[in-house]
Amino acid sequence: MHLAYPAVLSALLFCTGLYGVLARRNAILVLMSVELMLNAVNLNLVAFDVWLSKTARDTLHSGQALTLFTIAIAAAEIGIGLAIVLAVYRNRGTSDIDRLRDTAEGHQSGTPTDGTAGEKAEATA
């Protein structure tokens, strides 16, 4: 198989995930796009591992081992990420990342009371 096929598919999937991370507003949709980017990297790792194991007689299989590690780390990441999103949702009532601008510089928040209440709630939680 031509090596360009998996490489190009991986690049396209990565850029799709990049668009999703930049353009989505819901935090959970951003997490889905991050998963797409991680899967693009996994496809690259598997394709190059198969190529190297046949042409260079590589027996270390580093690509597949790293793919398994990436899958496990992605599972941990999605668990922690969803826990953080749920904590933010409980404190602020929204998972809209465009409205979580408390640390933005030079930007007056539209609802300052909401922000301070959320901060206090976070501090006491």
Partner: protein
Amino acid sequence: MSPLAQAPHGFLSPTGVEIAFLLVGLVTFGAALVTVTTRQLVHAALWLVVALGGLAVEYLLLTAEFIAWVQVLIYVGSVVVLLLFGLMLTKAPIGRSPDADSGNRWAALAVAVAAAAALVWVVVDAFRTTWIDLGGAAAGSTKVTGASLFQNWVLPFEALSVLLLAALVGAIVLSRKAKADPSPPPVNGRAVTQSSPPVTDSGIYPIEQEGAR
């Protein structure tokens, strides 16, 4: 038989595996595009299942069987279920939500298209004359992967188990509800009742979000 195995390949004579890879790749890419552009949040999670399952089929076509089944188990089995739970727990609106995309959508599209053009150009230019030899024994059968994992990668594997334990504990601590002790309720209770909508009006919630903006 040369070790690089370049001689018998023609550039425009795709084999059956290549055609299958191309078709499944088109399905995967289309599902990924729908995932990042649809306005229905639950449909995005379900199209993500199609994209991840297509990637599992691609792993099978690349003879990496163990990775393919791990992909099905972990991603399709647990990650998507976790994402659906997250969507339900944050009371994501069922149906079309008008504000699924941010205001900087066009800048994001420009960045993504530029990155895709650059990456595809570089990758095609670099690996134009490289072929994967898929004949012979499978490169990623369970035996081969297990042997390499437990001969060469034991220490990272064990470290990974510690990381998973830490992630488990961290997720439990983060998602645990704060104790309902009556001593400091004013700030906490007021903030919660102000900012989180009641359970019953999940249909009203996006409308009042629109009104607030």
